[in-house]
């Protein structure tokens, strides 16, 4: 009998631990989002003293604001596309859970290194939740790029300012000395390039371009090919 009471009490204790706050009409809008996009968790009816925490599976998401004291604005975290469990925790206690879908990012970020000869290598490539480099840079020298599919067709084209090969000192001393720049050339330049995450894209071609208007086909034809890099 004693054991039964203990087991009963233990069972009740366990059950009480699993009791969750009523989820009411809480909902996530939109239920599908790309990393970096805002998702609104509405009608949460939670008044937390410890602060609410939002997890997408095991990854924490930035809570960037509240909605009328009754919901949260969260940024979808940078995790692989797919369905995940969104959980809202209050002091570690789950008060709301639902399934949401993380969509593929619109962009990929490649961190590249250019050596003194101009050769470019890829240091990393990862999904990127921000935007991608688009349009043509207004610069006297541009790094232009085309994204191609397996058939060699150009899917996308853009340019960025040519990665800096000289360092600048961009300030003056508080006591008023003027800026000085050195003529030191940097041997290796590491730079990020944000490209669209396009279906069917297999290759990126990088070009050295002058200050021409690359929206004109004649200027594009004059570009000097630096390298082709697989982005498969």
């Amino acid at each position: 009998m004693k054991n039964f009471v203990i087991m009963l009490l233990a069972g009740l204790l366990l059950a009480s631990c699993k009791v969750q706050a009523p989820q009411g009409n809480a909902e996530v809008i939109p239920p599908k989002a790309s990393p970096g996009e805002l998702m609104l968790i509405q009608n949460l009816n939670a008044k937390s003293e410890k602060g609410l925490e939002v997890l997408f599976d095991k990854t924490g998401a930035a809570v960037v604001g509240t909605l009328d004291s009754n919901g949260l604005k969260v940024l979808a975290p940078n995790i692989p596309a797919g369905k995940v469990k969104l959980r809202v925790l209050d002091g570690g206690r789950e008060i709301f859970t639902t399934e949401v879908e993380i969509l593929a990012t619109q962009a990929l970020q490649m961190v590249m290194q250019m050596d003194a000869s101009g050769k470019i290598s890829t240091l990393s490539k990862m999904p990127y939740s921000g935007g991608f480099d688009q349009g043509f840079a207004q610069a006297s020298r541009q790094l232009s790029y085309d994204i191609l599919n397996e058939k060699g067709q150009v899917l996308f084209s853009a340019s960025v300012a040519y990665p800096a090969t000289e360092r600048k000192e961009v300030f003056e001393k508080p006591e008023g000395d003027n800026i000085r720049n050195t003529n030191e050339k940097v041997q290796n330049v590491v730079f990020p390039l944000k490209i669209p995450n396009m279906e069917g894209a297999t290759m990126i071609r990088l070009y050295d371009s002058g200050g021409d208007d690359l929206s004109q086909s004649a200027a594009r034809a004059k570009r000097k090919l630096i390298q082709e890099i697989s982005i498969r």
Binding site: G130, P163, F171, P174, N181
Partner: protein
Amino acid sequence: MKNLITLLSILAATIQPMFAQVTIQANGSLNYAIVLCNGPSSTKYDLVFIGDGFTSAEQTMFNQKVDEAVQAMRDLTPYRETMCSFNIWRVNVVSTQSGVDHPKDGIFKNTALDCRYGNPAIGQAERCIQSDSPAKCYEAAGYAPAYDAVFVLVNDTQWGGCAGGLVFSSISTNFSQIITHELGHKVGGLADEYDCYVCDGTDAGRIYTGPEPSQVNLTKNTNRATTKWGDLILPATPIPTTSGASTVGLWAGGGYYGTGIYRPQQTCQMKSSSQPFCAVCHRTMRDVMDDRCTICELRPWFCFDRFIAVPWYDRIRWRIPWPWPPCLSCPPDRPDFSDVIFEVRFDEKFLEGSQLAVKDENGEILAKADVQKNGEPLVLTFKGNRFKSYNVEFESGKPQSAKITLKPTITARAQ
């Protein structure tokens, strides 16, 4: 067998991890901290601050320095008015040792991002701080949701900084000026307006003979009708311009050349980082940053201009949800909106006794306006706070038999 071992050795030496591991301090369940978030990264300009030479015990100091840098933006126009264009993130990188390398003095520290001052022994300017492992800097920045610019603050009070793809700065006095100047390059695509390159007297008065510069704040075109900022040059302003510190004209010097090229004003943030932006740079920055803000972030009252018409019988109560829900990131984090004056106006004619009241979330009346005389409009002005929500309640003086529609105009403006 020997060949196999040799081959494996070569392979081991060749195959390096794409990124080395950088140790960071998590912020709760996040690998970064939100300094300022105004919306999706795809629509905002994302800045990431990372630190080098800050030990785990010095992370609070790093956080404070980031706050100082952000405050510098808030203090300088046009950043001040357009903070809505930015997301600002902080990644707390932990170094084993405090400080960074000073090769000139033979001081070397074990830090996460391998930052150092320049080495004069190999022809580098000492004040030019750089990292010998830029890939680690990008790795650290990659913990943030996104980045358009990466600022590396190094834990050293000797004046110094440098900019290439990454921006480096020490935490010496006025280091935050580097942030605002560099953002001029990165956000606005603005050129430096310095009239020399080495600036030790050996390169004074260099003559620019190149093509028309692509940047908006430099030109070689002296035709006031066609020059880039001709619309801002008054007819009476002489060209070239040589007097009037605030006069927009064609001032000789810029882009590291002393002559043959012109800048818009005598001083500018892009010439001297202790100065405000000149009119041309200000306009350019504003154009770019405005594009990163929603209309309701820039002018929140636009939301209210479209305020719904409400059916009304004898009493209407409605709430001003502020921040206003349809704008996902509205209002922006605008310091000039820390205190807001709300004006609620009905132009309809009301009966005596009609009342308009603003209440806080607890129902306490914060401001009230009554129709004193039949046929008067109702106007109520009160000072609110951008972080709070308010309830606006209207009650008619007498029950109305007919349904009418009210179109209140609610404006919010900075003090």
